[in-house]
Amino acid sequence: MIEFSLWDIAFDLALAARWTILLSLIAFVCGGAVGLLLLVIRVSGNGWVALFVNLYVELFQGTPLLMQLFLVFFGLPLLGVEVSPWLAATVTLTLYTSAYLVEIWRGCVEAVPHGQWSAGASLGMRYPQQLRHIILPQALQVAVAPTVGFLVQVVKSTALTSIIGFVELTKTSSILTNATFRPFPIYGMVALLYFAMCFPLTWYARQLEKKQTARQR
């Protein structure tokens, strides 16, 4: 049996944390892009498409992320599509993230007073121009804090991908535990690593919120 010193363990975990960070970033960038697209469709107000977006949001918010991962990872092969853990994890997290972000952002868009749309319209601006130049910049100011707050949830959610065999921080820790039988120091370090990733985000979100309340005064 190979001997692991605590330093070896810490080093391996830190390396594995890279994948957690990378997966979070992908989920956030892709989820954000999909979310923005859905948001534009949703607020443009066309009946059927808006209904589709609502259904999409309900579906992903109303089922556990773990089930979504299973369905993509085990379900798609049944249809003849081979899925690697990487692909399953990024696709599922993207869909999941976008479903939450579109709801968060829709609330922010609706927080912009209706008169702002009218003002833009009365100046001859077209709908996309109103959205792009008047509504979204104002919605963005309100959206930053809850969005960053949600990113924390995404970072922690990536741990679930360990179950379909994606080797990130959590999966690495269980492999190491199986090899060394030292669960406590290992999971302790894992918890610290997650905290180190999430705390700066929550701190930043809180700063942004403070700034925003100060601006509104």
Binding site: A119, A121, M125, Q129, H133
Partner: protein, 241 residues
């Protein structure tokens, strides 16, 4: 310039406008008044298509507002509108508020738009505030900027929807002064307002509305001297002390 012909509008079962008909000639100033909930604001918003209507026709400069083939953005770019709550864009500076639509809608260059914006700020007496944000200005100043913003599009007519109703009393006059100046320069104006002093000074005609109906549409002197309907008499008695 603006013709409103038999316009009716319903919110579901509830009728907010009933067979409204009137006309504004070029350079005419018309004040629309009446008790709250009488449909004044709704009527003025149908003129630039912000409020759709189910029956009748409105033509601005010969263009039908309700025709599906009419480009509403193009039509609205020609009609300035001033709102009760100013509706300046809070994330933009005063000059950005004044130049945004000039650049995006009229395709003016940044310099051209800026020159126009500054000239209009000068006109409403707010040149010194060009680089501030709307929240840094008082209500009266914000409304003057809003008027300048509407004017920056070189409109052929201006619509005012209760422009002084949200203002503290001491700020009402600074806004009215700008409006009086505009009227004297020959701007075609339709103003929903309770400021009867303004009406007396510059209006050509007064429209009195009640329950979605235009009850009186008469020259201003007739309206103040001998209102025909009881409802107008009642209204005048309440607001003129």
């Amino acid at each position: 310039m603006i013709s409103i012909d038999g316009v009716s509008k319903w919110y579901g079962q509830f009728q907010v406008l009933t067979d409204c008909t009137t006309e504004l000639k070029k350079g005419e100033v018309v004040v629309v008044c009446g008790p709250s909930g009488s449909g004044k604001s709704t009527l003025i918003k149908t003129v630039n298509g912000l409020e759709p209507f189910q029956k009748g026709a409105i033509r601005v400069d010969g263009v039908s507002v309700s025709d599906a083939k009419t480009s509403l953005p193009k039509l609205r770019a020609k009609i300035g509108m001033v709102f009760q709550h100013f509706e300046l864009f809070p994330h933009l500076t005063i000059t950005e508020n004044l130049t945004l639509a000039q650049i995006k809608v009229l395709g003016r260059s940044k310099d051209e738009a800026m020159e126009k914006g500054i000239a209009l700020l000068e006109r409403v007496g707010l040149r010194a505030h060009a680089n501030k944000y709307p929240v840094q200005l008082s209500g009266g100043q914000q409304q003057r900027v809003a008027i300048a913003r509407a004017l920056s599009m070189d409109p052929i007519a201006m619509l005012f929807d209760e422009p002084t109703s949200a203002l503290d009393p001491e700020m009402i006059n600074e806004v009215l002064d700008v409006m009086v100046g505009l009227a004297r320069d020959g701007m075609t104006m339709m103003c929903v307002t309770h400021e009867m002093g303004f009406a007396k000074k510059v209006a050509h005609r007064v429209l009195f509305m009640d329950e979605g109906v235009i009850v009186e549409d008469v020259p201003k002197d007739d309206f103040f001297a001998n209102p025909r309907s009881d409802r107008a008499k009642d209204f005048l008695a309440k607001i003129l002390h």
